[in-house]
């Protein structure tokens, strides 16, 4: 089975090569492969080249007017009208798409033709600028295929963006004669201006049988949910006018209406609003007395005042988008571009890409009946939310409205998501602006779940050769009631671990894993042997922790299973002189890290550390033989956004007389190195994810005036 997903090695890095006997076969196979490859390549190199360079397709210089013409006889077949009952499972031939490892649909574009009727007159403009841009975008995208037999979706090159620019019957005939038309199955039409006078249908009137419609102006009655795609009406001004993003915040006007062709009834209601609320409401109209040469579409007027359009939209917090003859309005695109929050007043309108976009975050939808209440409704929205909506509006424009390319790709992605739902793009990816994606976290262990105590924890001891101290740690840890297994990671390749009989006898299973290389990251490998969620990482010289302290640590971890819960606390500080981060191991009032020399955490973070550590951190740590614990702190904080929990006052771990900065961490160079690590990691993560807190976790009755024997965890060391 081909999977797009990576296959993870579940066995662990403890791979001691087994070769020797298989040496021979291995080499012979390799030889033959190489030999074959050589012959194949050689033959190909020196074979006379019968394949001409066909790059002229791409550099082709042809004119749209030179495309072949197709004559449509008057009696050529017309497709059925659009079938309102079509859904993906009834009208779409999903077998054409097949299962493919990339989970991408293949889209074919018919080549461009000119269609003429019997008398030789053109049926429509061959192709509009926008439709050409749209097809170019599809062709450049990874959805595109030029092989009609492998295609899952077909896009006709017949331009139906604007219904008013085409002849309905003849266009339908042109569709019907497409080579793979087959009642329009798996065909996708793009239309932005549907309907015509007098009643303006909300979907394209061209008979199209089963074809999918990406339409700009659907009403809830014509939109086939889950089949059609609602798209924006593109505003050509998007390409012409550069409106730089404006920071969110209060603007000069509160409500602005900029549409020119409002129904007089709407205009009256808006003017009433203006009369009531004064200057904060601005109702613009077309200009009547413009001098020649000034494009009317780029100006708006209020009484004698002239405003530049669409720049004026940036002066207002809310911009009204009222329905006209059609439901979809190009002004929506301009409004979003200006970062003005659209107030959409168009009953039953299906908003663009509503299948995936959460419009409540970017707009205010108000029923037509409630028009007189607009002002009060908008006033009730908190300022902070308005600012977010402004940002969101701008983001929607940038991502999905800005160009025909954006519109085309979003449409195809929506259809793609329906066909490969298990690979669909998530709500967050569609809706969160980059700034939010950047600052937010999505905790992989988001469910508030307190793991059952009975599961216990697995202690993982990383060791090299300090056998005596290791055995002491094993004996101490084995006294902890909730220990369920002990795993020794033997990181020394030059020496075998002691014989089985020499190991301390303990009440839980003890497993020794031998590693292939002496790497620090071996400590964080998600070994299959770890069957519990909780992992206690402990160094082979941490002998001071009492059984009560460890058991209490486990209980604390159960209450915070998505955090690092550990004993040695450390802090990072900003060094103002050096202008960089500094590592602090003094006893301070704050902690931001716990060392994994003695810490509980969820096994999932082993998986993250091994497979998802950003940048080159993992290799860097292995190469420097240092800072694996800091890397783990960064990783967990970055993915959960939460602080560590330091448990119990314990500060000495190796011997009673040791100071806080004991053993390894004593010398100055070490401190410098650790500081370097923090700076390095902060730059790889692009941020400082560590959170500083002032608290630590103690048993409820710690140091309380209460008989020790009644306390659950009496034996909590003071230092």
């Amino acid at each position: 089975i081909m999977c797009a997903s990576a296959k993870y090695n579940t066995r662990g890095p403890a791979l001691i090569p087994r070769m020797k006997t298989k040496h021979r076969i291995y080499y012979i196979t390799l030889f033959s492969i190489v030999l074959l490859g050589l012959i194949a390549t050689g033959m190909f190199q020196f074979w006379p080249h019968s394949i001409e360079s066909s790059s002229d397709w791409t550099v082709e210089k042809r004119s749209v007017h030179d495309v072949p013409a197709v004559k449509l006889p008057a009696d050529s077949p017309i497709p059925e009208r659009g079938d309102l009952s079509c859904r993906m499972h009834t009208c779409f031939d999903v077998y054409r798409c097949g299962f493919n490892p990339k989970n991408k649909i293949k889209v074919y574009i018919y080549s461009l033709k000119k269609y003429v009727d019997e008398y030789g007159t053109l049926v429509s403009n061959t192709i509009s600028r926008e439709y050409n841009e749209l097809l170019t975008a599809i062709s450049d995208s990874e959805f595109y295929t030029d092989d009609v037999n492998r295609a899952c979706l077909f896009v006709p090159s017949i331009d139906v963006l604007n219904q008013n620019a085409l002849r309905i019957k003849e266009t339908a005939q042109a569709l019907a004669q497409l080579s793979r038309w087959d009642r329009g199955t798996n065909h996708l039409l793009f239309n932005m201006l549907p309907g015509g006078p007098p009643d303006y249908n909300t979907a394209l009137d061209v008979p199209r049988d089963r074809a999918l419609l990406a339409g700009g102006g659907f009403s809830t009655w014509t939109y086939r949910q889950g089949y059609d795609v609602s798209i924006p009406v593109y505003s050509p001004l998007s390409g012409e006018v550069d409106l730089p993003e404006r920071g969110p915040g209060p603007r000069r006007y509160f409500i602005l209406s900029s549409q020119m062709a409002l129904h007089p009834e709407y205009r009256l209601e808006l003017e009433a609003l203006q009369a009531e609320n004064g200057e904060s409401v601005l109702i613009l109209d077309k200009c009547t007395n413009l001098s020649d040469g000034v494009p009317a579409v780029r100006k708006r007027c209020y009484k004698n005042q002239v405003f530049d359009y669409p720049q004026v939209l940036q002066e207002s917090t809310f911009c009204v988008v009222l329905r006209g003859a059609r439901l979809g309005q190009a002004v929506l695109s301009d409004v979003l571009q200006a970062g003005c929050v659209p107030v959409i007043i168009a009953d039953s309108y299906i908003l663009p890409f509503s299948e995936v976009l959460d419009w409540k975050r970017a707009s205010v939808v108000i029923p037509e009946e409630k028009m007189p209440e607009i002002y009060n409704i908008l006033q009730s929205i908190p300022q902070r939310q308005i600012e977010e909506m402004q940002r969101q509006a701008r983001w929607f424009w940038e991502a999905y409205f800005q160009s025909m390319k954006a519109i085309a790709l979003a449409t195809l992605q929506i259809i793609n998501d329906r066909i490969y739902p298990y690979a669909a793009i998530s709500y967050e990816e569609w809706n969160d602006p980059p700034a939010v994606k950047w600052s937010s976290v999505s905790n992989p262990l988001f469910l508030p779940l307190i793991p059952p105590q009975s599961q216990g924890f697995t202690a993982v001891v990383l060791t090299y050769d300090r056998v005596e101290s290791l055995f002491r740690v094993i004996t101490e840890v084995s006294k902890v009631p909730s220990l369920s297994k002990l795993l020794v990671v033997w990181n020394n390749q030059n020496k075998n671990p002691p014989e089985d009989s020499l190991w301390p006898k303990i009440r839980v299973p003890l497993k020794v894993v031998r590693t292939a290389e002496n790497k620090l990251s071996n400590r964080f490998f998600p070994y299959d042997e770890i069957e519990t969620e909780a992992v206690l990482a402990i160094d082979d010289d941490i002998i001071m922790l009492t059984s009560d302290e460890l058991q209490f640590g486990y209980e604390v971890w159960r209450e915070f299973p998505d955090r690092l819960v550990g004993y040695p606390g450390r802090l990072h500080l900003w060094d103002h002189e050096m202008n960089k981060w500094k590592y602090e191991s003094e006893w301070t009032n704050e902690v931001s890290m716990v060392l994994t020399g003695a810490a509980f955490y969820h096994k999932y973070f082993n998986y993250l550390y091994t497979y998802k550590m950003p940048g080159d951190i993992k290799n860097w740590v292995d190469a420097h033989m240092n800072c694996e614990d800091i890397a783990m702190n960064f990783l967990v904080a970055n993915v959960t956004g939460k602080s560590v929990i330091k448990v119990t006052p314990r500060k000495k771990f190796k011997c009673p007389e040791c100071t806080a900065i004991d053993g390894l961490s004593l010398d100055q160079t070490h401190m410098v190195e650790r500081s370097e690590c923090i700076n390095k990691f902060a730059s790889v993560f692009g941020t400082m994810p560590l959170k500083v807190v002032e608290h630590r976790a103690d048993p409820v009755l710690y140091k309380d005036d209460f008989p020790e024997k009644l306390k659950s965890f009496p034996n909590i060391g003071s230092l």
């Binding site: 080499y27 390799l30 004119s63 669909a424 939010v436 002032e694 409820v700």
Partner: protein, 760 residues
Amino acid sequence: MQTRKKYIFLTFLASWLLLFFFGGDQLRRFAFFSGRKAEARRNWPRWKDRSLLKSFADPEELQRDGDPPLLSPRERRAARLSVSRSSRCRMETCFDFSRCERHGFKVFTYPQERGQPVSETYGKILSSIERSRYHTLKPEEACLFILSIDTLDRDHLSGQYVRDVDEKIRGFPLWNGGRNHLIFNLYSGTWPSYTGELGFDTGQAMLAKASFDTLSFRPGFDISIPLFSKEHPQRGGDRGWLRQRSVPPKKQYLLVFKGKRYLTGIGSGTRNALHHIHNGQDIISLTTCKHGKDWEKHKDTRCDKDNVDYERFDYQELLHNSTFCIVPRGRRLGSFRFLEALQAACIPVLLSDGWELPFAEAIDWGKAAVVGSERLLLQIPSAVRCIHPERLLAFQQHTQFLWDAYFSSVDKIVHTTLEIIKDRLSPHRSRSRLLWNTLPGGLLVLPDFSTHLGDFPFYYLQHGYSPSKKFTAFIRAVSQAGSLSQPILRLIQAVSGSQYCAQIVVLWSCEKPPPPSGKWPQSPVPLTIIQGRRKLSHRFFPFEAIQTDAVLSLDEDTSLSTSEVDFAFSVWRSFPERIVGFPTQSHFWDPEQGRWGYTSKWTNELSIVLTAAAFYHRYYHSLFTEYLPAGLRELVDGLAACEDILMNVLVAAVTKLPPIKVTQRKQHKEGVAQQAECGDGAAGTPPPGQRSPPAPHSAPAKAEGTNGSRRFSQRQDCLNQLADWFGYMPLVSSQLRLDPVLFKDQVSVLRKKYPSLEKP
């Protein structure tokens, strides 16, 4: 020998690499590698005159947007109302919004008629509505109406089928063509076609129906609900089954199904094919032919073997041990399996084409289920194998979140239905999809409080906000005297000394007027006095005066120092969704009496933080007052000293997490009379001298004296009544206390940030 081999090998390799680099271009086009005739991809041409192409519509045309339509907007809306058929109903055509304007969203249930028994399930639905905060007894106030006729089972072959519904409905004066009515239905249609027909004219009523198909579903009007069994609990509901989160999931099976195979009729296509994916190892797909009376008549060659295999596996065991569960359509589109799989954290793989998924208007099912296609059954195994392990973990957790938030009880299903309808009434004050699909779920988020994520305690991390840096001290004063007591003066001084204190609000809950402003102590922060009501629950009213996210709730006789307050606030900023406070108590299950016990003794655990001294988010005031049904608040007002337990229960029910205890310097209550009565004794307020501090070694409750024991048993009663209301015990225990990092460490006091916490 060995070395020679190595050299030959190296030479080969080198020459091959060279050839590859130089000939790579051709190589890539070589038919053998590209799989088809070599030629460059034929892209859409770059027309040389593309810049000259005309726009699809000229700007003028776009902005003018056609000729003005013949009908004015008002006429159009009126026309829409008059011609709309019920099959085309939408909120704006078939629902009368004006009914909801005056009294808000109120729901009226028709009174039960005599001799008109309803099924157990419908009884539960009706009682869920009656328990909801939207229920009203007055039809003239109502915005939404629910029939008393049991419409759940509309299969006319069923015993529960109610006849002559049309006739009965016609007799209802409130029916009004079905406008603003909501009709619940679980089973519609019957053998053989199982159409969605209900067998009576539903008029313009909305349908909340299980097994809805996308074609008859009226988007934005109807609501698809899940199929649930008659054993589904009224409230509370069982928890999900996910206990362990592992990557990759530690489950024996990848994909399972066990169920009936229809030999004929609707739905048989999919069920007949399910056995094809069975591999006996990690994919178990078992079907039985045995169902109905005459199955042997249609029996095929597979049946006997299948029936034997079928008996070998237990359905519950499969549910527990599989990563994915196939949820195929039955005769109808929905099945019980769906909720079963959801609860079991077995990721549902839906094979039910054209099913409008339950609450799809709110719920993003792509995060919790794989929506497969009946036609692509054979691709399902490879598709689910390809889902990344971390995605599986997210899926599993999401099933549990959805189960718990919207499906685990009839109450939740019904309340979700009501909230979805309520959201439609004022789109600008409704929940975004984000709120519905992130913890703690839409039911616990009140859009009337705010629609901004940053105003709630739940979304700080997800959106990179942080809670406000200041708090409001909220003191409840009940002292008898018309003057200010010493403790309250001390308290105001201590609290206002905190650099994080933004304001002090005093809730004056006495009949005597508060002392004039001159008598209050000078404090560096603004002090507001609110005249409170006598009700105990009034303490948690969402007062406008509270302006900060954090509330420090205090009793007037609480004694706290400034540094205690500072430290607790710094802890709260790390846990803004929890109650963070000082004195605590705990609950336990008393197996002898078969009820919940409550203790104020010193214990190694805690599950309740007294609101006499606690930080929490101000949103909980709104939840307390607006989310909890009025009945519950009345219960609390009737019992003395129950309101803080209810607050703890509420927060625990929302967060599923225990509260947090922080360092307390000494006893908070100094044994003096507290909760002193003001004015004449209101019913239920406790006599003085009760909330005595839980002394170490405190004697058993019985020995605490009559007052003490009465109060104690009231709190215990309260706990049990609340557990009954919620349907389970939401409180969660914790074994830890958060202390300053250097608390009681043997280091110089000068180095400590909160030295005063350690003074005896």
